[in-house]
Amino acid sequence: MLLASITIFLVIRLIPGDPAVQRAGEDATPEQVEETRRQLGLGGSLHEQYFDWLANALQGDFGRSFTRTLPVSDLLKQAVVPTLELAVAGYLFALIVGVPLGLFAGLRPGGPADYFATLFTIGTLGIPNFILGLLLLWIVGVQLDWVPVSGRVGVGEDPIGAMKFLVLPTIAVGSSLAAVLARFVRASVQEVMNQDYVRTARAKGLHDRQVVLRHVLRNALIPVITVAALQVGGLISGALVIEIVFSRPGFGGLIVGAVTGRDFPLVQAMLLVLVVVFITANTLADILYGFADPRIRVH
């Protein structure tokens, strides 16, 4: 994580163009440029700058945005709720659709659920997230006019309105993960169904539903947990793009604006936050795996 923070810091410094010169104006004297540089926190040697930045960042102070003159932490706070809302909704959608679909497909290979799962998978392979968003926007939002096309309402203010705004982006964010999960659960269920203990459970006369719930599902979901947790990173970067498609406020619009506007502190801070989230998710995956499968903990 430390290495990642150094990388972020150095890479951002590689961006050509000196922001101090830009900010001070075209006919600024060298002294004025130097002054601006100090104000922006770009004075001093590279490692001093880095430690300053890291120390402040750990206290929740990311400095001021170059382009918006607001503290970066304020901008982040504004953006984090909409993004989190969309990411969580998309994740839940993926779990609710993907796991049962994979389960039914795995239990009856060649059945209707399996057929649908295959179709779904090919569909999501061929249509990337953001295009699915565009298509949904166009069909459901414009043609059928069922839901508002763009923007966002806070869940606190108007829960039903918020849902309307959230439905399409959620589907767009969650579908590809749902397909991945469905495929994975299907393979996992098929493998478990061939295990001896499933045959034993059947042989001792357990009802089909009990066999599936108690024996198959519990064992089949172990490997799925890892996959589900490892996909969090991809899901969030997908959510950023979807936000832009649906003109929702959030990290997506912020980061693209920051990159094109060469807003160092903002880009740095956002990358740091995102990387911390991804690394946490991956670590969580390992821990969850240990809980779900007691055999892992021995090592």
Binding site: L3, G126, P128, F130, I131, S237, V256, L271
Partner: protein
Amino acid sequence: MAASGPAFPRTMRQRIQERRKRSQLFDVSYRVLRERRGQIAVTIIVLLIVSAFLVPAVSEFDFKQQIRDERLKAPTWTHPFGTDELSRDLLVRTTMGLRVSLWVSGLAVAIGAPIGIAIGYAAGYFGGWTEAVLMRLIDTMLAFPGILTAIIVLSVLGTGTREVALALGIGAIPVFARLARGQMLQEKERDYVMAARALGASPLRVVLRHAAPNTLPPLLVQAALVMAFAVIAEATLNFLGLGASPPTPTIGILLAEGRRWLTSEVWWYLVFPTGMLSLILISLNFLADAIVEATNPYSINR
């Protein structure tokens, strides 16, 4: 090597020499072409490449040309994909975009694969410090998932088509490195590697000449999948305005422009670029499946 032993029957020796002439790459491609999905994939990809170069060359319209009185027209025989808001022919623009997609994603693989594979081979073969340093580097890169690596690289390089290809290529390095390392770890324990080393072959020769061909199939699968990802990422970056600048048509830019004209009448603006993209993606995924199937020693009937 064994074939030069005098005790070997002549026919066997010939057969081995015949096999050696057929490289692993040739072998894999041959078997992929016998696979049904492989045939579909290769056919579509070839068709797409041909049309990407033929259509803009043959068409009477230029991708920048604005045709009088033909603004946002639905598909007709003269404009099979319709026209856009500046009265430009969308068939030509879409196929030009297809060309960019194929070119950028191909270039990304061509940049990312050799570097990543070299890192992975070195880490896997030498182990120890080399491995620790290289893999720590790769793990750091992996902390930035998906499109974020590309966004970071683009913020340094500036935007543009070549920059996108480079950014995606760099983003593809860790995937190849990890896979190549895993493969190399398996292969280096095999007896034939030991034999080659005992005969005094240099590490470079052992890795490239002996071990590499056996690690090829999974890497080829990965190359197809990475290319599919690069196609998506390229479209996404262009859609976000981080790619080529507007007069150049790319599929991402077409979609971003089409988004502004999303009304119930204008359907062609979105549908055709999406269709093109889907064709590439599905055929690349089919290709990956076909390679898996063709090189799987356990699959029957091959």
